[in-house]
């Protein structure tokens, strides 16, 4: 493709380039005035795979489809990482050790995007583009392997799990059950950092990871699957690479997307066990309900500061909503970013989640299916509190879905609920609060008694106003509600 030049901002206009080559590959010199970072990756044929000596490789492609899929993928990388240019050339045919199998070149304004885009293309290439690899081994054997998953290696499998197979509760039969099992981890964060390595190392055959997030430097003190080099990269990609290095016999499915009502059934139905490592209540409740629908066991945990909470929901046992029938408002209990979190807490809880799954697959011990375990790592205290099915549970009983009674979604919802109401703005004077509609101003910092009547309390984001509404609801006054999302969420046609 030769010399290129382009001017800022051009990333949307870049022509994605993907080619197959039957000839040896040579890196292309490329130039682009608006790019400051150029990355060239060369993938070469290595003399070993999975502890076996490899003599040569053969790549075969379904060429038309490979090129069209490859072009799509490169175009996606260009958009996703704001690349100024991206080129991929993949060899097909027979290659000797040391020969170049693929060259990926990316250019971006800054180096981070160029590196991240290059690596993303490589990861995606391996499982999206129809190119197959045949390994020729020194012992005369050969075999086609998935470009990503290393070939089956029963010998490595056996060596890796030797010590746990000595346990009477496991043995070869238990190990075969692990190999046949599939586990979905929702969230590739702090809990997954504890759970995922042990499930992979134990030899669970198939692990699914779903998370749309990228690594942030503030994650690293607890999400120890990642390193500073990974900042800005997709968590599922890095976590999958961690598993591949730890135990190459595990098949990893990565899903770089967010769990939603639209896709939750598809994911839950495809796995034997579901581990909730998410960091928010809506996802936890969504999973709980989907696992009920599909009769799948769910191991859920959550963490706060020095403390953690763990419970297992079996298809015939009490569920998360049996315990918490009321849907909490999104931010009423804060997040790790707001509350702070000690790194070992999600690590510990994640390992205990892995133990619950292993109990289930191997059949040892007793589940936390009728108990909730609370752990305080300040003291090491753990408590097991027993819990029962709740006949009024909105998910598995006959109860109605109850929403947090102290919030309204919008001003019109307050109108529908109350008819007449007064808006109370609790923002502070230095926030320079402004509302076009009639309201009473009572700053949060010096909040006295609220007026009588139906009240809609507002602040900038809905956090302080929710506190006010919760306090009054607790005191028995149910006509005080908070506007969810605060004035920032008011629709343009609503009074401000």
């Amino acid at each position: 493709m030769g010399l290129r030049s382009c001017s800022f901002p051009r990333y949307r206009e870049v022509d994605p380039v993907f080619r197959l080559s039957h000839q040896p590959l040579i890196p292309i010199v490329h130039a682009c005035d608006s790019a400051g970072g150029f990355v060239t990756f060369e993938g070469k044929v290595r003399n070993h795979a999975n502890l076996r000596e490899v003599l040569r490789l053969e790549y075969e492609a379904y060429e038309d489809l490979a090129v069209s899929e490859g072009e799509k993928l490169v175009a996606e990388a260009v958009a996703r990482y704001r690349l100024e240019s991206a080129t991929v050339v993949h060899r097909v045919g027979l290659l000797e050790v040391g020969e170049t199998a693929v060259i990926i070149q990316t250019a971006a304004a800054h180096r981070r995007e160029a590196f991240a885009g290059c690596e993303w293309i490589l990861d995606q290439l391996k499982h999206r583009v129809p190119i197959w690899k045949k390994e020729y081994y020194a012992d005369g054997d050969s075999g086609w392997v998935g470009a990503d998953a290393p070939g089956p290696n029963p010998e490595l499998d056996a060596q890796l799990t030797q010590r746990q197979r000595r346990l009477a509760e496991i043995g070869d039969a238990g190990q075969a059950r692990l190999k046949a099992a599939s586990v979905l981890l929702v969230g590739a964060g702090g809990l997954a950092a504890g759970c995922l390595p042990y499930l992979a190392a134990a030899g669970v055959g198939t692990l699914g990871l779903i998370d749309d997030d990228v690594v942030d430097v503030s994650n690293l003190h607890r999400q120890i699957l990642f390193s500073v080099e990974d900042v800005g990269r997709l968590k599922v990609e890095r976590a999958a690479q961690f598993v591949n290095l730890l135990n190459p016999t595990v098949e990893v499915h990565r899903h770089a997307e967010r769990l939603t009502e639209a896709n939750v059934d598809r994911f839950v139905a495809s796995y034997d066990w579901i581990v909730d490592g998410s960091d928010n209540l809506p996802t936890k409740f969504l999973l709980n309900q989907a696992c009920r629908r599909h009769s799948k066991p769910l191991v859920t945990a959550s963490v706060h500061g020095f403390e953690g909470q763990l419970l297992t929901v079996l298809p015939d046992g009490p569920c998360l909503r049996c315990l918490f029938p009321t849907v909490p408002a999104g931010r009423c209990v804060g997040t790790c970013a707001e509350n702070g979190i000690l790194g070992v807490v999600p690590g510990t809880l994640g390992i205990l989640q892995a133990n619950e799954v292993l109990k289930g697959i191997l059949g040892y011990g007793e589940f936390l299916s009728h108990q909730t375990q609370l752990i305080d790592l300040r003291t090491g205290d753990t408590m097991r509190l027993s819990r029962q099915m709740n006949p009024d549970c909105p998910v598995c009983g006959s109860g109605m879905d109850i929403c947090d009674p102290c919030e309204v979604e919008s001003i019109s919802a307050a109108q529908a609920r109350f008819g007449e109401y007064i808006i109370v703005d609790v923002r502070e004077p230095d926030e320079e609060p402004h509302l076009d509609c009639a309201h009473v101003r009572l700053p949060f910092s010096g909040l006295g008694e609220l007026p009588e009547g139906n009240l809609v309390v507002v602040c900038e984001t809905g956090t302080r106003s929710l506190r006010v509404a919760a306090r009054y609801l607790a005191a028995g006054r149910s006509n005080v509600v908070s506007l969810r999302g605060g004035v920032a969420s008011l629709a343009p046609d609503e009074p401000r």
Partner: protein, 77 residues
């Protein structure tokens, strides 16, 4: 009785455990009393209580000398 606070309730109360007495008869009334008295900033409907090792519903009478654990929803992961 002793009351133990978990997660965000502990943060907002400022202590992990305290010994208290109350005139409330039911667990639900007692939760409301604590939410108001200590400004726990969480709707009582969201707080679950365990009495002497078992979660109980709001209408359950309070036992003398009980150990009560208050558990809010916890979201972090």
């Amino acid at each position: 009785m002793t009351v133990r606070y978990f997660a965000v309730l502990r943060d907002r109360r400022g202590v992990g455990e305290e010994t208290l007495s109350t005139d409330c008869e039911s667990i639900g009334d007692f939760i409301c009393e604590l939410v108001v008295k200590h400004q726990l900033d969480l709707a009582p409907a969201l707080i679950r209580a365990a009495q002497d090792g078992s979660f109980v519903d709001d209408s359950t009478p309070i036992r003398d000398g009980a150990q009560i654990v208050l558990v809010p929803p916890v979201s972090g992961g």
